[in-house]
């Protein structure tokens, strides 16, 4: 019941906001929905893991981690949106809040479901719920971005549907129990699944959900959508949506791993991961648009996650830890970028200088974010990356560790060069009258996220460690 | 068996000139005209045979050989087709290729004869004739391939005479596609609409008519009869494919051929009057469509 409530509550909020005549009250719906969702998720951690599933829904550590991440990022974005909506007209107009909450519902469905068909429906619903948030009919750049987002993701997701059907065929053609598409059934009877169909299923699931996750070479929609979307939406896409898609890939990997075919899946994950790293590093060098720069950094993060899971062992644990840290950091960076965009009115890196003088808090956040996202201590991404590198070395894949280190360094230099250029320097003449004081609603959410990253970097609570270890165990990994 | 085949061949040889005439008559009927009498082609043939051929000074023996080849090649090819629905007069494994080769030979000499006049005009007709042939022939070969695959036989007589029933039982879809494709090939080979317009005498639109423009007397009679016979050959292939008569008693099978050919001719007339003639650039697309249909028939069968 609790699990159903987690999915249904945002839907109810979306409907409430849609039918509420007073535009001012819609932000109340948004904040209320976000906070209620977060508290329900906290309750789920208290009662969920031991409890039996509810129909198609079940709570497991892996899904729970993603769900919590989605919820936390959503609360931050919702708070930010309150301040944001005072300055900018929302994309999607009337439907803005409803679409946000609908996204929360569909992402929660993805995180909680144990049925592959429902997983697919939820995944496609996230695309449809977020498209109107990027869509601005008066701006052709936004049209182009939303068009690519819709087309590429829909086609990709369609392939994932085929992969889902292949999975059902693997159940049907094999000797493994009933054709239910339920994750527990699939894992319990994994060795009875037809191996050829299972392999095909994983390939299609990886390509399909990998498109949504932003793995190269299917990543082309990502920089456009993240670059053109309003900043809070970019934060939501990066911090929540990509992880939901990553979870969908992991669900497929869980089945393949249980069937003893992990050796088939790992090279694929590592291949896509390395390619994503290379592409991201190449496009980060000389990137002139700071929002697109952050977007390519997301491609790089997703590549790292794929590599981590592909390496398995302790690296899988590292990848999950990295997912938490990097998503929070990326959401924070996008929110800070939103403040820069409001203050400077441009997305061009070269036109932004003296950030620390003009917007001191945002400037500080931006610098901290740079170090956090590139894996410097003491922030949460650092332990994750160290664990992943250790995993690579332990697994005897020295070359992967080497590739990761080299490309990470490239990314750090590329991002550092352009971000420090923005932060330092003299404050030039303002192209747009800057607000006297930075709005509290626009400052508090990224600040809170930064504190969270710092805390997670210094200390991983025992409960979180157990959840990470349990989740990594289902992926063939272990705790360090 | 061979007796009925001979009878059927004789029947086809006799009624061949009727087919284009019947098609044109149908067009006339639909467009509200009376049209030429059905037996007019015979009168034309008799008249032409009684005349003397006129040859231009610039022409050589090639020009004179063309009508003979155009008459002889369908006559030879006719021996390979099972008109009675049971078997052909002659046949060997792979004779379908010989069938297509004979018709190609006739077409080549016709084109050379056209070029031999030295007229740019006939040259254009020859070039069109050959250009379209390069789309007709793949379609024809694909049809034969699909027939061979569905029936498991390699000679036309056995494919269409004996084993076609088995083909319909096993792969009806493939054979239906072959039937449609062969029909389109027939339209093109017989120079009927919407590929060609037998009634036109406007230089820019003529295809087949322009190539035979300079022939006269018995030569022209040979050409007219030869192309009518070609029409009949393909019409018979269509009938054999779509209406297998393997199980029928031979006299009935031979007798049924005549109304069946008439139906095909009327159908050609109906198509010619309902669809506008295709622009020259569209003809290859039309023929490629027929080839694609036959190819699909092959693919469905190969699996």
């Amino acid at each position: 019941m609790l699990l159903a409530a987690i999915v249904v509550l945002p839907v109810a909020g979306a409907l409430g906001a849609w039918f509420d005549r007073d535009p001012g009250r819609r932000t109340v719906w948004l904040l209320g929905g976000a906070l209620a969702h977060l508290s329900l998720v906290a309750l789920a951690w208290r009662f969920g893991p031991g409890a039996p599933g509810f129909g198609w829904l079940a709570f497991d550590p892996l899904g729970g981690l993603v769900l919590t991440l989605v919820s936390v990022v959503f609360v931050a974005v919702a708070c930010y949106a309150v301040g944001y909506l005072r300055r900018e007209a929302p994309r999607g107009g009337h439907a803005f809040v409803s679409c946000m909450l609908a996204f929360l519902a569909s992402a929660s469905l993805v995180a909680l479901t144990r049925h592959f068909g429902v997983l697919w429906v939820g995944m496609e619903a996230t695309t449809l719920a977020t498209a109107p948030l990027i869509y601005d009919p008066t701006d052709r750049r936004s049209l182009e971005a939303v068009w690519k987002y819709l087309m590429i993701c829909s086609v990709g997701i369609a392939l994932a549907l085929l992969g889902t059907f292949f999975l059902a065929t693997a159940q049907l053609a094999g000797s493994g129990g009933p054709t239910t598409l339920m994750l527990p059934d699939l894992i319990a009877n994994a060795h009875g699944l037809h191996p050829a169909w299972l392999r095909a299923a994983f390939v299609f699931l990886l390509i399909g959900f990998g498109t949504k996750m932003g793995l190269a070479p299917m990543h082309t929609w990502l920089p456009d959508a993240h670059g053109e979307a309003p900043s809070p939406i970019s934060a939501l896409l990066s911090g929540a949506l990509l992880n939901a898609a990553f979870l969908a890939v992991l669900r497929g990997f869980q089945v393949v791993h249980a069937a003893g075919l992990a050796d088939f899946a790992r090279p694929l994950l590592i291949g896509f991961g390395v390619l994503s790293l290379v592409v991201a590093a190449a496009f980060l060098l000389g990137q002139e648009n700071y929002k697109r720069m952050l977007a390519y950094s997301s491609v790089e993060q997703m590549g790292l996650l794929a590599i981590g899971v592909g390496l398995s062992g302790v690296a899988a644990y590292g990848a999950l830890l990295q997912m938490l840290g990097a998503s929070l950091a990326k959401a924070m960076l996008f929110l800070a970028a939103g403040n820069i965009l409001i203050g400077f009115g441009t997305k061009q890196t070269a036109e932004v200088t003296g950030l620390l003088k003009r917007l001191p808090v945002t400037g500080t956040l931006f610098v901290v974010g740079l170090f956090a996202i590139t894996g410097s201590p003491p922030f949460a991404v650092f332990p994750g990356q160290v664990v992943m590198l250790t995993g690579a070395v332990h697994a005897g894949r020295l070359w992967i560790a080497l590739v990761m280190v080299v490309l990470e360094a490239t990314v750090f230099m590329a991002m550092g060069a352009s971000m420090l250029g923005m932060v330092l320097g003299a404050a030039n003449a303002a192209p747009r009258p800057s607000p006297e004081r930075e709005d509290r609603w626009l400052i508090a959410p990224p600040l809170a996220l930064m504190l969270l990253i710092l805390l997670l970097g210094l200390y991983v609570p025992a409960g979180l460690h157990q959840a990470l270890a349990a989740a990594a165990a289902t992926l063939g990994g272990g705790a360090p | 068996m061979s007796g009925s085949a001979t009878t059927a061949l004789a029947v086809v040889l006799i009624i061949a000139p009727l087919l284009p005439s019947l098609a044109s008559r149908t067009v006339a009927f639909i467009t509200g005209r009376r049209g030429a009498p059905l037996l007019q082609p015979y009168r034309d043939l008799v008249k032409l045979l009684g005349k003397r051929a006129v040859y231009s000074r610039t022409t050589t023996g090639v020009f004179r050989a063309a009508p003979i080849a155009v008459l002889a090649t369908p006559l030879l090819a006719a021996a390979l087709v099972p008109f009675d629905g049971h078997g052909s007069l002659a046949g060997f494994a792979g004779d379908a290729i010989a069938f297509a080769g004979l018709l190609a030979l006739g077409r080549m000499l016709l084109a050379l004869g056209g070029l031999d006049t030295g007229s740019s005009f006939e040259g254009m007709g020859a070039s069109r004739e050959l250009a379209f042939a390069s789309f007709i022939e793949p379609a024809l070969f694909l049809c034969f391939a699909a027939l061979a695959l569905t029936t498991g036989e390699l000679s036309l007589g056995r494919m269409l005479g004996g084993a076609i029933d088995r083909g319909w039982a096993q792969a009806p879809a493939s054979l239906a596609m072959v039937g449609v494709s062969l029909f389109v090939v027939m339209l093109a080979e017989a120079s009927r609409g919407p590929v060609d317009d037998p009634a036109t005498h406007l230089e820019l639109t003529m295809i087949h008519e322009v190539t035979i423009l300079d022939h006269s007397g018995p030569d022209l009679a040979f050409l007219l009869y030869g192309s009518a016979l070609k029409f009949a050959l393909f019409a018979a292939l269509v009938v054999d494919t779509l209406m297998p008569r393997t199980g029928w008693p031979t006299p009935l099978a031979v007798a049924a051929l005549i109304p069946a050919l008439a139906v095909v001719a009327v159908l050609v007339g109906v198509i010619e009057s309902t669809f506008a003639r295709l622009r020259l650039v569209q003809v290859p697309q039309f023929l490629a469509g027929a080839a694609a249909l036959a190819a699909l028939g092959v693919i469905l069968r190969v699996r």
Binding site: L128, R140, R141, M151, T179 | A173, A292
Partner: protein, 213 residues
């Protein structure tokens, strides 16, 4: 029953080919509507047991794929006043050849696949793969934004045909969820197609090239 199913599958292939060679957008939409009807009838002829599930799925498919979606797309092109595919990069003959290659590969692959459900129509898998690949052909060769939507629909329909081999293993609610997602997706695409035209005065999706690195 099996004969009917094969005829339906063959007609599905024919409609795919028809889309490949048609450059008039309104005709393409009508062909897709016809394909929607064929897909709606297929569950009855696919050899699976017929129940409430079959009927609801069939009605839902016909309602969405042959009535609602064609209307949305027709609205988009009528308002945007576009008629034809602009100078297709590959002519009809080339498209047919590509389609034939797709069908050949599909049938070749399908015979080598380990047999799925024994009870269902054998033609479902190859036709599904062929439809999928022809959808990709349309997606990669056409330029108009609306043609890409049609390519996506072909792809989606191919996957739907594959889903029929599972014969009820997918719960009805999930199937309806899939249909609903496609409906909403194409609806939003139609809206974007319309706006792209308004903004760019042309629907050529290749002119959407401002965002690049």
């Amino acid at each position: 029953m099996e004969r009917t199913g094969e005829v339906l599958l063959l007609l599905v292939l024919m409609t795919d080919f028809a889309v490949l060679v048609t450059d008039r957008l309104s005709t393409c939409i009508r062909i897709m509507a016809a394909q929607g009807v064929l897909l709606g009838l297929l569950p009855f002829a696919s050899g699976a047991a017929i129940g409430v599930h079959t009927v609801v799925l069939s009605l839902g498919t016909i309602a969405i794929k042959s009535i609602v979606l064609p209307r949305v797309l027709s609205w988009a092109i009528r308002e945007a006043e576009v008629r034809r595919e602009l100078e297709p990069s590959i002519g009809p003959i080339g498209m047919v050849v590509l389609g034939l290659v797709a069908v050949g590969v599909a049938f070749g692959v399908a015979t080598r696949l380990p047999h799925a459900g024994a009870t269902v129509l054998p033609g479902l898998v190859p036709v599904s793969l062929a439809s999928l690949m022809m959808g990709f052909v349309v997606l990669t060769t056409r330029r108009k934004a609306l043609s890409l939507v049609i390519g996506y629909l072909m792809l989606e329909n191919g996957i739907y045909v594959f889903g029929l081999t599972l014969a009820g293993a997918i719960p009805l609610l999930v199937e309806m969820g899939v249909l609903l997602d496609v409906l909403v997706g194409v609806f939003i695409m139609g809206l974007v197609v319309f706006q792209i035209h308004r903004q760019l005065e042309t629907q050529d999706s290749r002119r959407l090239t401002e965002l690049r690195d």
